[in-house]
């Protein structure tokens, strides 16, 4: 909401002082100043000029020569690049020596040999608007009889002013008007707020002879106020009004539309005008729409209505407008209009909100109705103002006013406990101090003893209805900065959950292992899941920002491969990446939300499967995971002969190995990618090994090397398990140090060489003991796995 200082002062003349200080008061009241500008400060030297002649430039197509009367008695020649002027037009003329808002100084100069003694100005050059297209034509905007040479500020009735652009919360419909802002600011400054009122003599037949209005649905329309105007002005608005509208960002259109906008900006009440001659039967009925009805709105669009939408119907019960949202084309006023019905109504905010949202129609008017317009005396004040402005411009007004009532909000009186307000705010205000704050912004307050008060909530505060709402008003007027700062004393020890601590540990381990943490967006393109070998069953977005990001991922694989490809494309070579992020699996039966889980993925480009297994081992050790096994399985997206399922404590928790080369190709990745993905949540919330102390032996170990010939279908892990099982607790370390195929080893087998360390906690092992356990290892491993000792 934009407001001008001069306009605010018409409601509270006491508003005065340094604009910056006023900005601070506005912000502290919750009317946050987004921008403050000093306006109407026209550069000295810009005057009204009259175009006397227009001639082509002899040597330039894009410039014309303009003779301008600047009031000095002589004629100036100006070279001008715009062609929207006609002889006789009044235009802004910047004389030689003028410093423009841009800093440009107008000099006497020659363009292609022709003298230019000044500049005709566009809106943007004078900082008066955004129009850069042509020269401002002022014929209709200056007071009658204004002579060339008059300083432009004087001719346009402009005076230096302050313009604030305020951010207004959805709970403050009242502050979407100059009057509402003035009320708050006056209270904040402690000066009087004195809203004017207007009255205008009426003439001709009474309104009751012109139109009949009934509210059929009282839950839709709380109040319908109407007056009838005759001979409404059809031209443009007077300059003072046009200037104010422009200052507040509203483009002047024509007299009646401008009055409607002016009253809305000034006092907060939207209005609608009907060409009474086109309202069938001169009858207005306010009701809800029926399914199947439709109406052509002012913008020419045919709009289908649904039950629940509020509508205005005419004597034939045909819809002629959508209540509070947009009027209908059939009763729009035009140059032939004589009699006009002006409507000012109070609409039920949820009803208007739903209709505006469903039709995707938002306007300044519907915004105010959605937030709750004023239902009290202000409706009449606004009507009085509308009539006064129209009559001032030549209209006549019929005697009498329609004032139909439906259901209006009941706002009081509300019992407010001072102790409760203080306990919420942490203040020690008396009931009387609270009453003072509330009265300053128009609340009615009756004291109900020392500890309570009865507050009547004003009709312009639809959103305000409870004791808590009242507390906010007290806090606002008391000043948030005047509330003493304390801290709660009731909180116990804070901390991260075991899961959150472990997740940090996972990150630390991976960063230590040289991996960079990535955070790709969790959406993928349609088909991206299938491209990495996964089921194309991702949940889709209804309104994606980008069609290439319209599916929720079910795996971290697409994002990680995308990151690998991005780095390869940017010549970063091979990378080690990881991500901890959510995946969104299909909705479980009987539930509404997806099966959302936190996964961990590690992608090592240019590396082979064992590198990913090494990362898994590192994590398993760091997290003390029990019994991590690799189980052969068909895994989507994975290299069929270089990957395995990760099984933790007997449960499948993910995949490790390499990404399928065909998937890599489809994703634009070159080389191999070693890959690990686990369901981090399940793993971290699953069983863990307790780290119990085992004394370290003080006695020397005996190391024994054994090489077995192992058939290809027997995994090394099986051999290792057999060794451990056969050696028992004397075996303290097993290390595979060689894997060999070739001469001396039969086809279909390989030789695996292990170094076994035997050690007892309480003695030095004898040669006999070592020999015994060695033999047991050989025998048992052969028996369990079919491996044979390599001689």
């Amino acid at each position: 909401m934009k407001v001008l200082l001069s306009w605010l002062r018409e409601f509270a003349p006491g508003i005065d002082g340094d604009p910056g200080a006023l900005s601070d008061v506005l912000s502290a009241l919750g009317l946050t100043v987004e921008e403050m500008t000093v306006t109407g400060a026209m550069p000295g030297g810009v005057v009204l000029g009259r175009v006397l002649d227009l001639r082509p430039h002899p040597d330039a197509d894009r410039i014309q020569l303009v003779d301008v009367d600047d009031g000095s008695g002589s004629t100036l020649q100006v070279c001008c690049g715009a062609f929207n002027m006609a002889v006789g037009d009044l235009v802004p003329l910047a004389r030689v020596g003028t410093v423009m808002p841009s800093g440009l100084e107008i000099a006497s100069r020659k363009l292609r040999g022709q003298a230019s003694e000044g500049m005709c100005c566009s809106e943007i050059e004078l900082d008066m608007g955004d129009d850069a297209e042509g020269i401002m034509i002022l014929n209709d905007r200056v007071a009658a009889g204004a002579e060339p040479g008059t300083p432009l500020a004087e001719a346009l009735g402009l005076a230096p002013d302050v313009l604030w652009d305020l951010e207004v919360g959805a709970n403050r419909p009242d502050a979407l008007s100059v009057m509402g802002v003035a009320r708050d600011l006056a209270a904040g400054l402690g000066v009087a707020f004195e809203p004017p009122d207007w009255s205008t003599p009426a003439s001709g037949p009474d309104i009751s002879e012109a139109v009949d209005v009934k509210i059929v649905d009282p839950t839709l329309c709380g109040r319908f106020v109407g007056r009838v105007l005759r001979n409404v002005p059809a031209g443009s608005s007077p300059p003072w009004m046009a200037n104010r509208l422009m200052a507040l960002g509203q483009r002047p259109i024509n007299s009646i539309v401008d009055i409607s906008n002016y009253v809305m900006l000034e006092l907060g009440q939207p209005s609608h005008t009907f060409d009474l001659g086109r309202v069938q039967g001169a009858r207005i009925r306010v009701r809800r729409a029926r399914d199947g009805e439709s109406v052509t709105t002012l913008d020419g669009q045919r709009r289908a209505l649904s039950a629940g939408d509020g509508v205005i119907a005419d004597g034939d019960d045909g819809v002629i407008g959508i209540a509070g949202v947009m009027g209908g084309a059939s009763t729009e006023i035009d140059a032939d209009t004589t009699d006009v019905l002006v409507e000012m109504a109070w609409w039920d905010p949820p009803s208007i909100s739903r209709t505006a949202k469903r039709l995707n129609l938002s306007s300044e008017a519907s915004t105010r109705f959605r937030r709750g317009a004023d239902w009290g005396y202000n409706v009449e004040r606004c009507m009085n103002r509308f009539v006064q402005l129209a009559v001032e411009q030549g209209a006549e007004v019929a005697p009498g006013m329609i004032d139909e009532r439906g259901n209006l909000p009941d706002r009081g009186p509300l019992r407010v406990r001072a102790a409760r307000v203080n306990s919420l705010l942490g203040t020690g205000l008396s009931a009387e101090q609270m009453a003072g704050h509330l009265r300053s912004i128009g609340f009615g307050v009756d004291s109900a003893g020392d500890t309570e008060l009865d507050a009547t909530i004003p009709s312009w505060r639809w959103d305000t209805e409870t004791e808590t709402d009242i507390s906010e008003e007290v806090a606002r007027l008391h000043g948030y900065e005047n509330i003493e700062r304390t801290v709660p004393t009731g909180n116990e020890a804070g901390g991260l959950s075991p899961y959150q601590k472990d997740r940090r540990l996972v990150r630390e381990v991976l960063v230590g292992a040289g991996c960079c943490e990535t955070q790709p967006v969790p959406f993928v393109a349609p088909g991206a899941l299938a491209a990495v070998g996964l089921a194309e069953d991702g949940i889709t977005l209804s309104n994606p920002v980008d069609d290439s990001q319209s599916v929720l991922r079910t795996s971290l694989l697409p994002g990680q491969l995308g990151a690998v490809a991005y780095n390869q494309r940017h010549f970063n070579g091979d990378v080690r990446l990881f991500e901890i992020g959510h995946v969104y699996l299909p909705v479980p039966e009987g539930q509404l939300l997806p099966d959302e889980r936190e996964f961990l993925a590690v992608a090592l480009s240019g590396e082979e499967a064992p590198a990913a297994v090494a990362v898994l081992d590192l994590l398993a050790e760091a997290l003390a995971l029990p019994a991590v096994e690799l189980r052969s399985a068909e895994l989507p997206g994975m290299h069929p002969t270089r990957s395995a399922e990760v099984v933790v404590a007997g449960r499948a928790r993910g995949a490790v190995g390499e990404v399928d080369p065909e998937v890599l190709e489809a994703c634009g990745v070159s080389g191999r990618v070693a890959w690990l993905q686990i369901d981090l949540q399940q793993v971290l919330e699953g069983p863990r090994t307790r780290r119990r102390y085992r004394p370290v032996s003080k006695y020397p170990p005996s190391d024994v090397d054994l090489a077995f010939v192992v058939p290809d279908d027997v995994a090394a892990a099986q051999v290792e398990r057999a060794l451990r099982a056969s050696a028992g607790s004397l075996l303290t370390r097993v290390e595979l140090f060689d894997s060999y195929r070739g001469s001396g080893v039969p086809e279909g087998s390989r030789s695996l060489a292990y170094r076994l360390r035997f050690q007892a906690p309480d003695r030095t092992l004898t040669d006999t003991e070592v020999a015994e356990v060695r033999q047991r290892c050989i025998d048992e491993t052969s028996r369990r796995t079919g491996a044979t000792l390599r001689s």
Partner: protein, 339 residues
């Protein structure tokens, strides 16, 4: 005896000196030492035979023998010093390395990097943990109840439009969505737990914003919630202030300005001071709306609370002066490696 004992001692000593001077390494020195001073050496043998001499000769011979031994011992020591000094020097010279030559195969250690947003999030969590808060999380795909309704934002509410919510194709139209703020976690915690509650909830949030230098459709927020018997707005202002000083530095000030959110009343924006004296808007906060407490089965007459929330990504942007937020999701290692 063809040679007098005196000559024998002299010759042995001189011979030792000569050989020790020529010795090439410590092992050779040790050999000569063993030969001349060991149990079967000439000098030891001579000492054993001193008893065979006439008593008159014995004392003089003993003195000469001792002198010879001392000469040999001194020569051995000198040879050891000579050889060990040059041996050390040669060895060190041979092992010389230029430590500024950093070949990848000789220095294979390379750490990875935490994402800058994670770093900001961890720092925030640490500050709030230090202030006595626990960290809670919730799903990123939410229902209208948690994202809006329980937060006092009914379907017709004008504030709904301002969230630019991304909806998903589940349930009724606009019934399921990517959460547009972290506030749903407040509801989930309050539904499941009785006060007192002191939590922060960091996490990913979503808005239908086209990605540009300052916007991403997926970004991160942190939410705070305290519900207890006597929580006041003064507690809110004091908590914000304590957080701001702990996170940004003791010299940074905070202020609250009235604002509007459907789920808090009174509501405020909070700003932090900049070195030039101006204020920077950081986030929103307020006293938990009684309707929100009631929606979670908490009696607003018995319990009061405050809540606050702000963006995490922006803190990382400010800290590292990042000029294009899209780098957060590009995952270029040249970017990630800077933090």
């Amino acid at each position: 005896m063809t040679e007098g004992y005196e000559q024998a001692y002299e010759r042995a000593a001189a011979d030792a000196e000569e050989r020790l001077a020529a010795a090439a390494d410590i092992d050779a020195v040790a050999g000569i030492e063993r030969e001349l001073l060991g149990r079967r050496s000439v000098l030891t043998e001579a000492k054993r035979r001193l008893g065979d001499l006439d008593p008159g000769e014995r004392a003089a011979a003993g003195r000469r023998l001792n002198a010879a031994r001392e000469r040999v011992e001194a020569s051995v020591a000198a040879a050891r010093i000579r050889l060990s000094a040059s041996g050390r020097a040669d060895r060190y010279a041979a092992e010389r390395l230029d430590l500024t030559e950093r070949l990848p195969q000789t220095a294979p250690l390379r750490r990875g990097h935490f994402h800058p947003v994670t770093q900001a999030r961890d720092r925030l969590e640490d500050v709030f943990v230090g202030m006595g808060y626990t960290v809670e999380e919730g799903p990123e795909v939410e229902s209208a109840w948690y994202n809006f309704e329980a937060l006092n934002i009914p379907d017709w509410h004008p504030a709904r439009g301002s969230f630019d919510t991304i909806f998903v194709n589940l349930g009724q139209p606009e019934e399921v969505m990517l959460r547009s703020h972290t506030s749903p976690v407040q509801i989930r915690v309050m539904e499941n737990r009785k006060p007192p509650i002191y939590i922060v909830a960091p996490g990913r949030t979503f808005r239908a914003d086209t990605a540009d230098a300052t916007h991403l459709p997926a970004f991160n927020q942190i939410e705070g919630l305290a519900v207890d018997r006597n929580i006041t707005m003064g507690d809110l202002a004091g908590t914000i202030d304590e957080f701001v000083r702990a996170f940004f530095g003791r010299e940074v000030k905070s202020r609250l300005r009235p604002s509007y959110f459907p789920f808090t009343e009174p509501s405020a924006e909070f700003d932090i001071s900049r070195p030039d004296g101006s204020w920077l808007e950081l986030g929103g906060c307020g006293m938990v709306h009684p309707n929100v407490l009631s929606n979670c089965g908490i009696d607003p007459e018995e319990w009061q609370g405050f809540a606050f929330g702000f963006g995490i990504d922006r803190l990382a942007v400010m800290r590292h002066e990042i000029d294009d937020i899209r780098e957060f999701v590009n995952n270029d290692v040249r970017f990630l490696g800077q933090f």
